[in-house]
């Protein structure tokens, strides 16, 4: 018998009584979605830029490039100084990545990004610092609403990003900047 058949067969003698799937009718908190999003983004060590939109972001990017930093942009209308590389590994020296997010989640400050907008999947993780861009009206109240809105087609990769990478593995001291990006700035457009 294959191990698959063995497992499926063993499951037939499960002792627990049938249980129906529950209904997920959780009331969303819909007041001031942008405000909630900003508060929670701060909690996870990210920063929201409400004003200035893409113009402010481009100014920031120009400033970074003038300092000699490597910036890759995956957002239409924002110009960096690096193009998508042939291999993912060549992104190792990227200082800043500018990436579009599909939606924001007010209850926890997370932003959904999909690999269609990443060049290589590793882009938002390998860059030293991350800029995410989201449209204000894509912010949803909670994860239940996010689940019904995110797109994840066959073969795709998508991720909720809530702040820069962090760890508290050494004596519970919070350190921002573990293996992924060391900072996260979110621009609202």
């Amino acid at each position: 018998m294959s191990s698959k058949d063995y497992i499926l067969n063993a499951l037939k003698s499960s002792a627990i009584a049938p249980q129906a799937m529950p209904v997920f009718n959780v009331a969303p908190r819909i007041d001031d979605l942008v405000g909630q999003f900003e508060t929670n983004l701060n909690t996870v060590a990210g920063t929201l830029h409400r004003e200035g939109g893409l113009v402010a972001l481009q100014l920031k990017v120009d400033e970074l490039i003038a300092q000699g930093l490597q910036v890759i942009s995956m957002v239409d209308g924002i110009k960096g100084n690096r193009a998508v590389t042939d291999t993912a590994h060549e992104l190792r020296d990227i200082d800043y990545a500018v990436i579009p997010g599909d939606l924001g989640v007010a209850e926890n400050g997370a932003i959904w990004v999909n690999n269609k907008n990443l060049g290589h999947r590793v882009t938002p993780f390998i860059c030293e610092n991350l800029f995410l861009v989201i449209e204000a009206d894509t912010i949803v109240a909670n994860m239940h609403q996010a689940a019904s809105k995110v797109t994840l087609e066959k073969g795709e990769f998508g991720t909720f990003i809530a702040g820069p990478s962090k760890t508290a593995d050494i004596e519970q001291a919070l350190v921002v900047g573990a293996h992924g990006a060391c900072s996260l700035n979110v621009y609202l457009v």
């Binding site: 294959s2 191990s3 698959k4 497992i7 499926l8 063993a10 499951l11 037939k12 003698s13 499960s14 002792a15 627990i16 009584a17 049938p18 249980q19 529950p22 997920f24 959780v26 996870v44 993912a88 590994h89 190792r92 926890n108 400050g109 997370a110 690999n115 999947r121 590793v122 993780f125 390998i126 994860m143 689940a147 019904s148 995110v150 994840l152 087609e153 066959k154 073969g155 795709e156 990769f157 998508g158 991720t159 909720f160 990003i161 809530a162 820069p164 990478s165 962090k166 760890t167 508290a168 593995d169 050494i170 004596e171 519970q172 350190v175 900047g177 573990a178 293996h179 992924g180 990006a181």
Partner: protein
């Protein structure tokens, strides 16, 4: 599983308890996490509703596990994901090795997975000449120290910063005497970046496997799973059969409670959904039983498979906090470790590493009835005549007590009376290792059960 380091829990806990200052520090560190969890849970008015949904959804999935596993496999295959099934840890390890050997993998980067710990994958692969690098900072610390994890979410919680500093100085060349967490973390970042960039394959555990999408969800705060899986062309994900959820909606509901209950964060920094390999890459999922279908045959033990491994029950457990994770004779310590590991505990002592205070069941985001399961384990041990050394000598009747609800309740009321009328010095020797460093409790007037019946029942 027999373990060459086997010793009854009280004995191992005693070793940990020798350093009182460390015990206090350990207990306090975990209590701080518990408090953060309380604040995060308290900030959601729907918290109790989410626990109920989590519990029912997991139970629903467990009662239809065969269907969901087959649906998951079918959808994975359509997404270009290769699926493997393993009866036990040994088969899991063989499958992983074969996939790696076929691609001539020399170096594997791994993100945290309690399942691979359970299967003892690292030593197996190392024995076959494959270098395995644990990439979660806590896991890397204990890997360099040659230790097993002592907590499922905070694997190096038992180590002090100075000890990490000394270790890093030895192993990765940080400055002698350095103990600043920021400095050490950045040094580890640089060291591990080189590993990510030179690895031939990556492996992760699975937080949730989404049946209707054929996707796996992997959560980390550090980004190590994603740095790993998205660089090399070969990615592997090991999952227990209990990780399945029906759909995205279910996965999102669990994401709402997982991090809040683990560390008090509103959500993990990265919650990644892999619905297929990267372009030109390969993705494998290994579905593992390793005793889980056996647990499903016992309707009380079965509920431990609702666990989403948030670690909340460890942080709140008064025994875990004061005995350390290495005292449990099992990869997974604390209440959930007892629930899923007691059957294989050759010392038969870990079901007693518990005061039955019930705090764990109360914090659990999927309502795993941990105290009930642990109590059940005691009964199973007693029925099998496998009481740990000590318990059977000074409490020869305990087996009968435990096996009978009436006797147990009755004996507890005797204990309450004894605590009231007999002097502590007379009673203390009977409290075993537990009472050695503690005052005996003031006895309540009635049992909790009687109180509950009267006031809430």
């Amino acid at each position: 599983m027999s373990n060459k380091n086997s010793a009854v829990h009280a004995k191992k806990a005693e070793i940990f308890c020798r350093d009182e200052a460390r015990v206090d520090w350990h207990s306090k560190a975990l209590w701080t996490v518990r408090e953060k969890r309380d604040r995060a849970a308290g900030s959601l008015p729907e918290w109790e509703q989410l626990r109920q949904i989590g519990s029912e959804m997991k139970l629903h999935t467990l009662t239809n596990l065969g269907l969901y596993l087959e649906e998951f496999e079918k959808n994975c295959l359509e997404n270009g994901i290769q699926v493997h099934w393993a009866k036990d840890g040994a088969e899991h390890n063989r499958i992983v090795h074969k996939i790696l050997a076929d691609k001539k993998v020399k170096k594997l980067v791994k993100s945290k997975s309690m399942l691979t710990e359970e299967c003892h994958l690292n030593p197996y692969l190392e024995g076959h000449g494959i270098e395995v690098i644990d990439t979660d900072l806590g896991e890397r610390i204990i890997q360099l120290a040659g230790q097993p994890p002592s907590h499922i979410v905070l694997p190096a919680i038992h180590m002090k910063r100075g000890e990490v500093g000394d270790l890093f100085h030895d192993k990765i060349g940080t400055e002698a005497g350095a103990s600043d967490p920021f400095y050490l973390t950045r040094a580890a970042r640089a060291h591990l970046r080189e590993q990510f960039l030179s690895a031939d394959a990556a492996m992760t555990g699975v937080n949730m496997a989404v049946a209707d999408k054929g996707a796996v969800v992997v959560c980390t705060n550090e980004g190590n799973a994603d740095m790993g899986a998205n660089l090399p062309k070969l990615q592997l994900h090991s999952m227990g059969i209990d990780k399945i959820v029906p759909d995205l909606e279910s996965a999102s509901a669990l994401l709402r409670t997982l991090a809040r209950n683990a560390t008090g964060q509103p959500v993990t920094t990265y919650s990644s959904f892999y619905r297929g390999p990267q372009e030109g890459g390969e993705m494998h999922v290994i579905i593992v039983d390793n005793g889980r279908t056996d647990m499903l045959k016992d309707k009380i033990l079965a509920e431990s498979l609702k666990c989403i491994r948030c670690g909340g029950c460890l942080n709140t457990c008064p025994v875990y906090r004061r005995s350390g994770g290495h005292s449990y004779n099992y990869t997974i310590p604390g209440p959930i470790g007892i629930a899923v590991g007691a059957q294989n505990d050759d010392t038969n002592s870990i079901p007693w590493a518990c005061t039955l205070c019930g705090s764990c069941s109360y914090v659990c985001p999927t309502k795993v009835p941990l105290d009930k399961i642990i109590h059940h384990h005691r009964r199973l041990k007693a029925e099998a005549g496998k009481l740990p050394y000590g318990k059977s000598s000074y409490m020869p009747l305990v087996g009968n007590f435990m096996a009978s609800e009436t006797m147990l309740n009755c004996s507890m009321s005797v204990a309450r009376t004894a605590l009231k009328v007999l002097p502590g010095s007379l009673l203390k020797p009977f409290s075993g290792a537990w009472g050695k460093y503690r005052e005996l409790p003031t006895a309540p007037n009635s049992s909790f059960e009687a109180w509950f019946k009267k006031n809430r029942g």
